[in-house]
């Protein structure tokens, strides 16, 4: 009872149907990816759905979503794997059904996806480290509030930062790495503990929106003079942009989530049409601070 040859549309219409299964749904970042995907869907006249698990720890839920997506016989699938190997059997099933798979956000460790639209997180985190090192004068203690210790992005944004410091900044000591699950209140509470335990801390890095805003919140609540503590963030959101404008935050790395979503759907359409695709599509990242936050190029990749 397997219906191979997935050129069928989902809900009666004649548009091709592309199912996107992402790593998350609720967070702003994923909503921005979704926006980009919808833009491309309009432009290329395809129908899409966009789903992701409640937390980035929930591999099983994501597998479930991928399974359901496959049961709907899509024309193509966009997939941001929480764990490539866990998704192996289903990717194989997609392959058997002839459904092209486009990876996005982070690579899928498999040769089934035709291409990957993603940010180079290691390089992005290294850029954050470089700016932080410059700001603290290349010496002193810094700490990190990371959103997740098990996901690939969490690890890459941690390791990219740590590796850069190890390799290039002998004067800088990373005194603590804590994980707040990307939850603002939790990240704020743990940043406060770090700051209490290390009164001479000179810099702190938050690895995603929730972590970064949590750090800013901690600085506010403890009344620390922003001039003595450099905060570097990741991603965007209004709170982070305000913090940069108010001088509470030095600056942040932003990816191009809208671009990721857009490129994924675009690649899916090209795959459906049988076009040749490049091995990776680098969607890029940017450093932004007070000097360039209002530039058109930056504004285009930020979300509120």
């Amino acid at each position: 009872a397997s219906d191979t040859g997935g050129e069928t549309a989902a809900s009666g219409g004649d548009k091709p149907y592309v199912a996107l299964v992402s790593k998350g749904f609720q967070h702003q970042f994923w909503q921005a990816v979704k926006t980009g995907a919808e833009q491309a869907a309009d432009e290329y006249d395809v129908e899409i759905t966009f789903e992701g698990p409640d937390t980035e720890a929930d591999v099983e839920q994501q597998i479930q979503m991928l399974q359901t997506a496959l049961d709907k016989s899509p024309a193509a699938i966009g997939f941001a794997a929480l764990d490539s190997q866990a998704a192996g059997p289903l990717l194989q099933q997609a392959n058997d059904q002839g459904v092209p798979v486009i990876a996005f956000d982070s690579g899928v460790d498999s040769d089934i996806p035709l291409t990957t639209a993603a940010t180079d997180n290691l390089a992005a985190a290294a850029a954050a480290a470089e700016h932080l090192a410059d700001a603290v004068g290349h010496e002193g203690k810094v700490a990190m509030v990371v959103h997740d210790q098990t996901s690939v992005t969490g690890q890459q944004r941690r390791d990219g930062f740590v590796d850069y410091m190890d390799a290039n900044e002998p004067g800088i000591e990373i005194v603590d790495i804590q994980y707040g699950g990307g939850d603002q209140a939790k990240s704020a509470d743990l940043a406060k503990a770090i700051l209490s335990a290390n009164p001479d801390l000179k810099g702190i890095y938050g690895s995603n929106e929730g972590s970064a805003i949590g750090v800013v919140q901690a600085v506010k609540e403890l009344g620390i003079d922003p001039a003595t503590l450099a905060v570097v963030g990741f991603d965007s959101g209004q709170a982070q942009m305000d913090a940069i404008r108010d001088g509470l935050m030095l600056g942040a790395i932003t990816q191009n989530p809208v671009g990721i979503g857009y490129e994924t759907v675009k690649a899916a359409v090209e795959a459906i049409d049988g076009k040749e695709l490049p091995e990776t599509i680098d969607t890029g990242f940017y450093w932004y601070d007070t000097s360039n936050i209002d530039d058109d190029e930056i504004q285009a990749v930020l979300y509120e």
Partner: protein
Amino acid sequence: MSPTSLTTSENGSAAAGSALDAGPARFARLRGSLQQLLAAASLIVIVVFFSFASSHFFTANNLVSILTAATVTGILALGTTFVIITGGIDLSIGTGMVFCGVMAGVFLTYWGWPLWAGVAATVLFGALLGLINGVNVSVLGIPPFIATLGMMLIAAGLSLVISGTKPIYFNDTPEFQDIMNLSIVPGLRFPMGVAIFVVMIVAAALLLSRTIVGRYAFSIGSNEAATALSGVNVRRWKLTIYTLSGLFVGLAGVLSASRLSSAQPTGGMGLELEAIAAVVIGGTSLQGGKGSIVGTVIGALIMATLTNGLRIISVPQEWQSVAVGVVILIAVYLDMLRRRRA
């Protein structure tokens, strides 16, 4: 196996009045079956609804997908049904399952044990976690909520510690993933895991309604002090029941790791609520003393079907949880009305 034989005979309304002669007895049994059917009414309505809403829903493949999705939570729910019938609760089943998955990785990949030994050890490891819960609850007298909450946190932490916060892959025992995924019906993707789930349902139903463990679970949940006064070693049976729940946790750990071909050291939190919800939707009382395995299975299927169906008909994700919430309320409310009238 007829539907009634899966329910517990403790279900008063179905069995009452049937004692004296054969005629009413047969009638009562018939009424009992009807009751069970009605208990499943919400599930049937949901299935019918989605079948009309999307042509992708009522297909063999998708129905198997629903069963597959229900397997892990369902097995957790089976074990925890026993605990809840005693009047207890087990919050550690979610992260405990994750912990068991990690231990499967340790046994099979780190230590290179043969497949059967690793699987058996994992299931026993689950039982060990259950035993510790049992000791905390019945020997030390810690309230079940706290005892198992503590275990929930400890299991979550140790999973990360032992795995080094990285997934463990079963590279040395690729057959491991067959436990859940192997297709056992030619031509249909009917995975072995679902078959295991079915076997466990039957086993749990027999245990609950036909063995002493089940009898004492009801008795303890009904009136613990009186049970003890009747000379039943309540402490020992509670230990047994938490350990039994742990066995199911261990098995769920094997199946979920097998499904993902990897031991994921994170997650599992929230799964306990899902499993307990399945149990309670199925009519088992958190006060203890009342419950059935069929109920739990229906509860687990309602949850899995709802989730699947809403995705199949592409309800926007933010509306999905609203819909699940509303349907659960309605289903349980209708079930209550049915019971009250019965």
